[in-house]
Amino acid sequence: MSTHQPPMPQAPAAAPDWQAAPGGSYPGYTSPIPVVRTHLGHALASEWTKIKSVRSTVWTLGVFMLLVVGIGVLTASVVNANSSNGVDGQNALQFGFFGLLLGSMCIITLGVLTTASEYGTGMIRTTMTACPSRVRVLAAKSVVFFALAFVVTLATSSFVAMVQVSMLSGSGTISPTGGEWAKATLGISLYIALLGLLSLLIGSIIRHSAGAITIMIGAVLAPLVIALFMASQSLEKVREWLLEYSIPSQMSCFYDNTLSRSGPTGWDPLWIMLGLTAAAFAGAYALLQKRDV
């Protein structure tokens, strides 16, 4: 075993320096790469690269568009074929609802995967090392995901709405007003993108993809299913509340065909979902700060 001659080119100058009080200048290598004070923009660029460079994004959004367009067109053609039994005076936009209800599962899945898959793979440690500000990471993921989900949903729902209205224009449906158009495209897209964002935050809280997806799909479907089996008279109030505020009912508000007469109307669901998402963001942020990665 030979003794080692430490290669210390700067040692004579460096030795007294590092013993100086902390906070002084630190010696050592100086990189030719310019030092950049990073900000949210850098994190946004990074998250955009991440979300577009994995296959799961392409798959979930592809299936989403297929479901929304496929079911939308299918519904419209079935309705068109049977137009004799009373679609007169109805709004053609409402037939977009089923496609988007099913499609929202894809957005939920993508939202959860955006955060939870980093925990599954260990990538989160690399991410947090590159960007030590945890709130910045969460904010960047949220913004990038929300923007992507919103744009894709808006494009798809607008396309389906236009196809449906033109397909059914001859079968006695009324022509939708501007407000109805806005709700069935902009409104529902904002709602579904928020639902996806809520999933992203739940993914960050649960840190487990399958677990978070199950929770979110349960949250969407369970209230309605539970309500349907609540036959007892004494639970009438609970049943009604579950029916009115279940996520499918909230989504149907954007098409004016609510499953019940009272409960949220118009743009109300959007504010409800916004409140839920804000609460989830606060929770996810607090846990992210507190927990070890």
């Binding site: 430490p6 700067q10 990189s31 030092v35 690399t126 090392t129 500000s133 990665v293």
Partner: protein, 318 residues
């Protein structure tokens, strides 16, 4: 420069890192040595602000990691080669890291070339072998051309050529004036790369010393002798005041570096020698002794230090 002061991490009752205080200086390779489960990775995670210390403080160039605005150009770390999304290509993995720190995009191609992954840059990371994953992790660490580099078990999964490469890489990085902090559980590996050693066992600091000092203090040198004229040789050595120990299989051992003297004595008295070899106990042995003592110490720790006399605390404070 990495400075730890009383750094402690507890998981419930279990103490993973216990009151660690040491500094990692620039310009040299500092080896961070300890058996598996000694708390090396936990310490490194705390340096990077991933885990919160239960007590104590750790600073990178005088700043807490969480406060760094340009972390990748300050410190590059390879913690876990598997900390990569398997579905993403090596290129995109590095690109998203570069973007998060405003590092120019050309660096991605540069570091891929440095670690020799250019040919598989567009391949998904999940198809990578352990060695390729390790190289990708090293590429990520080098991305920001940082002043401080931290590698957790970098030779894991590398082939001999890869081990040789990383050894030289670490030495050249240190020679450029960078701080290089590398963990390992293999003393033999550290002996070839590190200039300074920090040894921990069960989360406690066992040694913080230069490699040369560690070798001097811990590497026992001895002379091994075999001779058909055993009894005669024992008499001669005894007369000369040399202590001989039986080493089994008919061999004898003499502590210290006395091969020359023993050879002269054998020649003077006409004793036939079949073997006369100066030897050194391996550093691995020294390391195992050091950490074994820590384990022993831990297991037989007596009761807590005697409580101070009542009032000693505030009397002292006055």
């Amino acid at each position: 420069m990495i400075e730890l002061a009383g750094l402690t991490k507890r998981y419930g009752e279990k103490v993973a890192v216990d009151d660690l205080t040491f500094s990692v200086r620039p310009g040299i390779v500092t080896g961070f040595l300890g058996p598996n489960g000694a708390g090396k990775s936990t310490t490194m995670r705390m340096i990077l602000g991933l885990d919160h210390p239960t007590a104590g403080d750790v600073r990178v160039d005088g700043v807490h990691y969480r406060r760094l605005k340009d972390p990748l150009t300050r410190i590059g770390a390879l913690l876990d080669a598997k900390a990569v999304h398997g579905g993403r290509s090596a290129y995109h993995h590095l690109l998203c890291l570069a973007q998060s720190n405003g590092v120019p995009e050309r660096r991605v191609a540069e570091v891929l070339d440095t670690v020799g992954l250019t040919a598989v840059a567009r391949k998904k990371a999940k198809g990578f072998s352990l060695g390729m994953g390790q190289r990708l992790g090293i590429a990520a660490a080098l991305l920001g051309d940082p002043r401080i580099l931290m590698f957790d078990e970098p030779v894991n999964g590398l082939d001999p050529e890869g081990i040789h490469w990383i050894r030289n890489l670490m030495k050249s990085l240190a020679a450029q004036g960078r701080t290089v902090f590398v963990s390992s559980h293999l003393m033999s590996e550290m002996a070839l790369t590190a200039d300074h050693l920090v040894v921990i066992g069960q989360g406690r600091l066992l040694a913080d010393t230069s490699m040369a000092d560690f070798i001097r203090q811990n590497a026992r040198s001895y002379v091994r002798i075999r001779s058909p004229q055993r009894e005669r040789l024992l008499d001669v050595l005894h007369e000369d005041g040399i202590t001989v120990v039986e080493a089994g299989a008919g061999a004898l051992e003499v502590e210290g570096d006395k091969a020359g003297r023993i050879g002269e004595l054998a020649a003077r008295y006409g004793i036939v020698l079949h073997e006369l070899s100066p030897r050194q106990a391996s550093l691995e042995e020294a390391f195992m002794q050091l950490t074994a003592q820590a384990v022993e110490y831990h297991a037989h720790t007596g009761p807590d230090p005697a409580p101070q006399a009542w009032g000693a605390g505030w009397k002292g404070a006055e």
